[in-house]
């Protein structure tokens, strides 16, 4: 058996490794470099051997700089402000920086090589969050807002929610109906949506508190289903079918006529909260194309001339 290739391979690898280690030893040395760190009015200085990345030096001196990507300039969390030294920003960093950060000299610490004396400042935002988590001051049911006072301490503050008395009574009635159900949120939201024609923000806060469900969860449900809307909807929802058959029969022109007649755009609601306009996919009666729904009523074979009549019909109901 021929062992030559294996031996040759190993010899070549060995030679290359040795050469690179020698190069590393003699080329990547920049002598002693002083790093000055400012964090929350606290100055620290330490001297390191040059040639390494700033991020690893900071970590080994006890500074917790977040870097979930492990120093590959892909997560963009390890931002520090470099006051002096460190060279200019690399193209790899630019994508992570806003204009303000570029002006302030923000760099990704995992991309800054320590080749000279460096003066940096660590932004203290992360430490604020970390302290809150550590002291278990975090409550997911509370609305969050950071207020930084003069000393630089951040305190969570409650945002006041205003719910008017009559609204509150109506919603409380609805909640009491479904309170004992397993998973009461969806029926409650459905009923509230039907009553108000949309889900007002303050009522969502109120429902979350009353049902003892995290607000994030309420928001998730309220934004997931098409039936719920966070914006006010008209009493009469005009849904124009934009499916293939209706499109061929001129649904686009129909939409345009409605937009002009109501002076709103697709997806909007008139100021008097009477009509809202939206385009939907096939509603399953292509024989009547072009077809549209006003709430539950089906209007088939609609022409542009009939549009004012339809609108007038529903206006008259309101007077």
């Amino acid at each position: 058996m021929n062992f030559a290739p294996i031996i040759i391979m190993n010899v070549i690898l060995l030679v290359i490794t040795i050469l690179l280690s020698i190069a590393d030893k003699f080329l990547v040395t920049y002598g002693k470099c002083k790093i000055t760190v400012t964090q929350e009015d606290e100055h620290k200085e330490f001297v390191v051997e040059g040639g390494n990345y700033l991020h690893s030096e900071l970590i080994s001196h006890g500074y917790h700089i977040q870097a979930s990507c492990g120093g590959k300039a892909t997560c963009g969390y390890c931002k520090v402000m470099v006051k002096s030294g460190g060279g200019s920003m690399l193209p790899t960093e630019e994508v992570f920086m806003s204009k303000e950060e570029k002006k302030a000299g923000t760099r990704l610490s995992c991309q800054v090589k320590v080749k000279e004396d460096i003066e940096i400042q660590i932004p203290d935002f992360f430490s604020t969050v970390r302290n809150i988590v550590k002291n278990q001051m975090y409550d997911p049911k509370v609305d969050w807002q950071f207020i930084t006072d003069v000393q630089g301490e951040s305190l969570p503050a409650l945002k006041k929610i205003k719910v008017e008395q009559n609204q509150q009574d109506t919603v409380l009635d609805i909640i009491n109906q479904y309170r004992d159900l397993e998973g009461p949120l969806v029926p409650v939201l459905q009923k509230v949506n039907d009553t108000f024609n949309y889900l007002p923000e303050n009522l969502l806060h109120y429902i979350a508190e009353e049902l003892d469900i995290p607000k994030s969860h309420v928001y998730r449900i309220a934004t997931f289903y098409n039936a719920f809307s966070l914006k006010p909807k008209g009493k009469y929802k005009i849904a124009i079918c934009m499916g293939t058959a209706c499109h061929v029969k001129g649904a686009a022109g129909l939409m345009e006529t409605f937009e002009n007649e109501l002076s709103i755009n697709e997806g909007e609601t008139t100021e008097d909260l009477l009509f809202s306009l939206e385009g939907v996919r096939c509603i399953g009666c292509c024989g009547l194309a072009p077809v549209l729904l006003v709430n539950e009523d089906v209007h088939g074979l609609v022409t542009k001339d009939r549009v004012p009549q339809i609108i007038e019909m529903y206006r008259k109901k309101e007077i």
């Binding site: 290739p5 690179l20 190069a23 590393d24 080329l27 060279g87 193209p91």
Partner: protein
């Protein structure tokens, strides 16, 4: 001498490594959006391709062939390419910081650029002598540079006019430009021939 010139011209025109062999397409598509980066990248490619060809030829002919271990030449070439790129980067960072800022950042990308490996493999396949290898390496790299710089320039001009359809912006239009350019380069076909 005449044969050297032929190899050089063939590597640039008739056997263009980007447009005839479709090698090095990944950095080609990624960097052909901007003339300046395309130029920086291609300077780095010329440098690395020539350097690695100069190292790989002796390794193949003086070490691998005599010991009968030419079947590992792929892996040896890859290791040599990676190591020399690493070495060049160190030297550049230490002694030529402006150069490093200009095209040093492209060097790690070149380690995995198949143009570099392909040129080294062609040297072996076509049985070039040492001088011929160097000429072929420089020619190939210059050919790659011409291709990427022309595509980048056309792409930049097209974007200035602003007539590129939305769906074609970026890689799409670059592929189309490169395709038309490759057709144009076929016109050089009969000029020079190498094996």
């Amino acid at each position: 001498m005449g044969y050297l010139l032929m190899i050089f011209l063939a590597a640039i025109l008739t056997h263009n490594i980007a447009l005839t062999y479709l090698l090095g397409m990944c950095p080609f598509v990624a960097l052909a959006r901007n003339l300046k980066t395309a130029f920086g990248m291609s300077i780095a490619v010329i440098f690395v391709v020539t350097l690695t060809a100069a190292i790989n030829w002796p390794i193949y002919h003086l070490i691998l062939l005599p010991t009968g271990s030419e079947l590992i030449y792929y892996i040896v070439f890859i290791v040599v390419i990676a190591a020399s790129v690493q070495f060049v980067e160190m030297v550049m960072e230490r002694f030529f910081p402006p150069l490093q800022a200009a095209f040093g950042i492209f060097l790690p990308l070149i380690t995995v650029n198949c143009v570099v490996l392909a040129v080294s493999l062609f040297l072996v396949l076509r049985e070039y002598t040492y001088i011929q290898s160097l000429v072929f390496a420089i020619g190939s790299a210059i050919g790659w540079m011409i291709a990427i710089v022309v595509v980048a320039a056309i792409n930049e001009k097209l974007n200035l006019v602003g007539d590129v359809p939305k769906g074609l912006k970026g890689p799409g239009i670059i592929f189309i430009i490169a395709g038309i350019l490759a057709l144009a380069f076929m016109g050089f076909g009969g000029m020079v021939a190498i094996k």
